[in-house]
Symmetry: C2
Subunit: 396 residues, 2 copies
């Protein structure tokens, strides 16, 4: 389960001897593009090896947790803006997890496999995870029980303070570093005003072994109802963390470039949004076309071309059928099929009167607007109703 | 020199026997993405096998020349909006070219190789092209001379009318079809109001052998000066045409899907734009950041985080250095290096007074604006000067 995207500048910085001579050591970038995952495809669940992802990363030597906080702010902003419903961003730190494992008596060689067991806590009850740790991973039952005490903790700044006082963890250098950074992170997130949706969760482990510090994962949570007490996760939609060692592995001189980044699962988000639109009975639209330019009878292709050209020039998203003499019914049907909200109809009568008939597809409301005043951007606002109103106010 | 992009829907429409069962027969799409060209790379001229291209295509059975005209309208719009200077879109039709070749006595087996000679007329004088035709391609000198009479013609509707009366071409079925469509195209382009930059040019051939009808190519032309009489082409920036046979080649049942499309050479366009910006002495910017949030002394990271968060929430593109206590000079230097036009400075005094100091980087003009009225989107317009004025008017 490796989904790595290495962003390389367009002109590869090889020197004259063909050595990779990249001196870029700081970078902030995003991209929305295809990524690849070495994984068994699960076609029925829409899980492919090739898929679209949206990544945001900050690379470079900076003061602790400032870029990390920005990543979380961006995830928070994206999920809020998209109005996907309630969400929760779980945060943890690999160093804290490792310190917990060490203090519970897990040998270092079993850290990564223990991580992958802990990572299943969001899908399996603790008892099953414990069985896996003891049965498959070879941990002692005592070690597993002690891990269980920690990984079921979650909270905010209060939990961080509590763990900083923990008799075992407070003796551990890695734990102190991790908890210190976590405290700093929560201070910054408080200034960003986003802590309500962020939870320090010791069960978050994330499978990828290149993470070195803070890790995070955003999940959508079901709206509470009478049957459910705690919010239920309905799936991860973003995840990421700090990976300070990865870039150095590819540098011949081993120079370290610390990085923190996040991946937004846009395919999953799109499919959720699509389901919501469908459930609400609305049409899932694949274009943003605002208006179809239509004619009610023959020999009016010229009038359509002239009008659509004016609309395009005014920045309005307009379409017309690529037919010389389409039937009006076909044109209206096309709007219904594709969800285009408005039709601008121009016939002989309209040409003579110098007007355009603007029709709202759903309500069949119609209004005649003067052709010569030219349709302006502001006339076609998002809401059809207000557009017709505006046209009514300003029209002839 | 093949640069093909085949757009495939995300979920591949294979049927249960694994047969490609795509029933999509109409499509209008664009994309900006990497494409690949089997060609000898010319690294020094920035010509690689892998490069970015912007494509727009319309597929489907439609009435003649309506989608073709839309492609040209889009090229015209893109080149006008980007303000790249004067440009010319050359248009021709493969059927007209073939009819010309046939009527000049070129055997059909030599049509494609003759095309590729004619295609060089924008880079070589007619004499050299003629030598190539006779010497390398094996045409008779008479055939070459007769071709020369045609391929040096260019004009508009008048030339189309003239060729429709041409004693040889008017006898040729292909020529009549091509010229008929060309006339229709120019009528539509007249309605779109873009014929001033469009030229019917019989020397345009385009190398790719999949074109079946109209072909076009946009070139930037040098501003006229006293030494140059005719506008000089400084390079092709877009090209395309109709390819009605290509999709059918990949369909097991051989169903035809007529297509017309255009490729915009965005890498070339970007490099031209970059050169222009550099020549004007301005900074080439790689981000659109409007304002840097800065502090003049230590212990103010919290104030910066709070302010930048408010700016982000208001939709303003803001950055800050990822340092706890950066020097003011470093922060101002960063703006100069990256071309960020504004700095929002917040120090102890500003915190006490509840204001932010907004500074224009180039002029060092400064204005204090009340923190509590919150900075609104409209305050940071494109022009720094007007933004400071706005802030002055509305500030404390």
């Amino acid at each position: 389960q490796v989904h790595l995207v290495v962003a390389v500048p367009q002109e590869l910085p090889f020197d004259r001897l063909g050595r990779f001579a990249c001196n870029i050591s700081t970078m902030k970038r995003y991209h929305i593009a295809k990524v690849y995952r070495r994984d068994s495809p699960a076609t029925s669940r829409g899980r492919y090896r090739e898929f679209y992802q949206c990544d945001f990363d900050i690379a470079g030597h900076f003061d602790p947790m400032i870029p990390d906080a920005e990543c979380l702010k961006i995830v928070h902003e994206i999920l809020s803006e998209l109005k996907l419903g309630d969400f929760l961003i779980k945060v943890n730190d690999r160093r804290i997890l490792h310190a917990v494992f060490a203090s519970c008596g897990v040998p270092e060689s079993k850290f990564l496999s223990t991580c992958s067991s802990v990572d299943k806590l969001d899908k399996m009850p603790w008892e099953d995870v414990r069985s896996e740790m003891v049965g498959e991973k070879g941990l002692s039952p005592e070690a597993a029980d002690r891990i269980g005490e920690y990984v079921r903790l979650h909270g905010g700044l209060d939990l961080i303070e509590q763990l900083l006082q923990d008799p075992t963890l407070s003796q551990n250098k890695l734990a102190k570093e991790g908890l210190g950074d976590m405290k700093l992170l929560f201070e910054y997130l408080t200034l960003f005003g986003i802590t309500r949706q962020i939870c320090f969760d010791l069960s978050l482990a994330r499978g990828l072994d290149y993470y070195t510090g803070v890790i995070f994962e955003a999940v959508l949570v079901q709206q509470e109802n009478e049957h459910v007490e705690e919010p239920v996760s309905v799936g991860s939609v973003a995840g990421g963390g700090r990976y300070d060692g990865l870039v150095g592995m590819f540098d011949p001189k081993g120079r370290k470039v610390p990085c923190v980044g996040v991946s937004i699962g846009i395919e999953r988000i799109f499919s959720i949004m699509e389901q919501r639109v469908k459930a609400s009975g609305e049409k899932v639209r694949t274009t943003e076309t605002q208006v179809l330019v239509a004619t009610p009878h023959k020999h009016l292709l010229g009038a359509r071309l002239k009008l659509i050209s004016e609309l395009w020039d005014a920045g309005i998203k307009a379409e017309m059928l690529y037919k010389k003499d389409p039937k009006l019914l076909k044109q209206l049907q096309y709007c219904e099929d594709t969800g285009i909200p408005l039709v601008a109809i121009i016939g002989e009568q309209e040409l003579t009167d110098g007007v355009v008939k603007l029709r709202v597809v759903t309500t069949r409301e119609e209004v005649r607007i003067t052709f010569y005043t030219r349709i302006q951007k502001s006339r076609l606002s998002h809401s059809c109703r207000s557009c017709v109103c505006l046209a009514l106010e300003q029209g002839d």
